[in-house]
Amino acid sequence: MNAFEYTFLIPFIPLLGFLLIIFNFKRFPKKLTAALATSLIGISFVLSVYTAWQYFIIMGPLHGVYPKIIGNHFEWLKLGEHLSVHMGTLIDQASVMMLIVVSTVSLMVHIYSIGYMHDDRGFNRFFAFLQLFSFSMLSLVIATNVFQIYIFWELVGVSSFLLIGFYYEKPSAVAASKKAFIVTRFADLFFLLGILLISFHTDTFDFISLTNPENFERFNLHGTTFLGLSIPALALILIFVGGAGKSAMFPLHIWLPDAMEGPSPVSALIHAATMVVAGVYLVARMFANYAIMAPEALALVGYVGAFTSLFAAVIATTQIDFKRVLAFSTISQIGYMMAALGVSGYGEEAGLGYMASMFHLFTHAMFKALLFLGAGAVIHAVHTNSIREMGGLRKYMKTTHITFLIATLAIAGFPGLSGFFSKDEIITAAHQSYPLVFYTLLVVAGLTAFYMFRLYFLVFWNTETHYHHKPHDPGKAMLIPLIILAVLSIVSGYIPFGEFVSSDGKPLHTHLHFDIAIISTLVSFVGIAIAWFLYKKSSDLTSHLIARWGTFYRWAYNKFYIDEVYLFITHNIIFAYISRPIAWFDRHVVDGTMNVIGWITVTTSEKIKGMQSGQLQQYAFAFVSAILVISAFLIYYLINN
């Protein structure tokens, strides 16, 4: 018996909603669907908050450590002698924090979607999928073991597929959904191999035993290695690849910008706040393993994160699609979180990076969701995605403007807003041990401020375009989430996060590092200033700059042609040189062999027909020769034996 048995309800309530809606998707009126879905996710939200309250406040740390509690679980499947997969809920710092994030954003998006999707034919379908996603994501975050994570990992993947391809009549949406699914699936293959490898050596999936440093001695981690890596390093790198796929780390990031084909609320929920950080969450879940068993794998995580962060930020500065800028920004920010994990150590003060990463995950979820929802509101109002066709919107969409500004400031690291605090912790953590990462992140901070304000100025200031319909603020259903999230974007920075979430369960007392904060703030201001200078009003300067930096700009604008590389590999190499030849080979060689066997038989039959000449004497000749041959053979045989 424990106090958290009810936690299984948190994911199951949305599942119920999904089933109810999907089986009645032709029958339910829109209002009923909206009310049902929103209230169900609302219940989940309340339960999540209650859980957090109970876990962090009522229960608090036991002997100075936050315990990991199995809410409830049952054996789902036995995999071999020792291994079995359980389904259940694991309540600990990270999962409770994630519960809050997921249920909050999900609730906001639900409310927002009531307004956003109001005129859409697929209203019921949309809410069903949202519920499905919420179920999968909530189950993922409270998974008790890595295999359960994998299961729901796939399910969130498919929900994401369904939602990206929501406008399935649009070829680009179909292509995007396909791409998202296949790229993440590709990464999941490595995740699966990682799970196979690590479970083979540790005989367990369960986080409680798997990530407990006291158990590490008992694990049988010796064995053949690959490329000189130790077994845990290999396994953890494989798992990280899985996470990288879902979290759109370089070079597996290509699906995320395309995923913006989905409706904006989906982008906010899945591709900004929750699913895409699953990779970070996964690494965080197994952080003890990374940090203690395979520091080299963790370093890789850090470098990949930092590089991705920079890479995506550079691309973001050139994009003109509203949501794509945000998508690259998301990639960049997740890179931040990954980098933070990578630079972190395990336990006590060394675990600052871990805490910072989680902190940033939390705050980022709030302001990035807000940004996307704001983008949705704008796009809803002006019916275009291109920021070139926007401008001066601050006059028409006041509330949207303000909330968007708050979010932009938050992501840019403006002092006092949530992003400022979390970023500060990350940069501090990097500063301690990884100078390269530290400088990269610093540059990225500046770039972030720059491209976000570029976006902001281009959309809300700059030259006003001529609009067919006068844009206006959206209705209440959409505004309320914006406002709530804006508030959260401001206040969430003031949560003493380290007290609640830390690498080893012990509360971590953090404080603002002023030296670092000042530097990073300055960098941000520089970014903002440049953006102000270039984009507040339309000027020729930008085109001059673009001309000056022509090649680089073009490369960045084309996302460094990574997509093309993939396209080339898949279409021109795998499809054209492997799959098509195999199809050909199968038809003509393998099948051909069978046909040739038949052909040989028939042809032989045709060729030997002359034997049956109709001439009696030829028959007799065959008769006599056969006798001679057989008797000669028999006599020879007899004599030789």
Partner: protein, 105 residues
């Protein structure tokens, strides 16, 4: 005189007869001649039976009797064959075996 004839001599004759029968059967185109060749073969066999009986197993008469039966049956065979050959001649206006090959392959 005839006591000097050995089994070997007889066998040479019979074998020659047999295979000249076979040869005739294979090469002659006339149906009647082919029938005659077969008779030659059967008679060679008869010689064999009689000779073996006389030289090797004189204790009973099995070979002799066998030869007698062969003669009888050969006669029956010949009669049927001639009947059919006559029929053939009516149909084909020929008793050349090469003409009698409507069915083949």
């Amino acid at each position: 005189m005839w006591q000097d004839i050995s089994l070997q001599d007889v066998l040479i004759v019979s074998t020659l007869m047999f295979f000249s029968g076979v040869y005739g059967f294979l090469t002659r185109r006339n149906l009647i001649t082919m029938l005659m060749s077969v008779e030659l073969m059967l008679n060679a066999v008869n010689i064999n039976f009689v000779a073996f009986n006389y030289f090797l197993h004189p204790e009973n008469m099995q070979g002799m009797f066998f030869a007698l039966f062969v003669v009888v049956i050969a006669a029956a065979e010949a009669s049927v064959a001639i009947a059919i050959i006559i029929g053939i001649y009516r149909r084909f206006k020929s008793i050349n075996i090469e003409d009698v090959s409507k069915m083949k392959f």
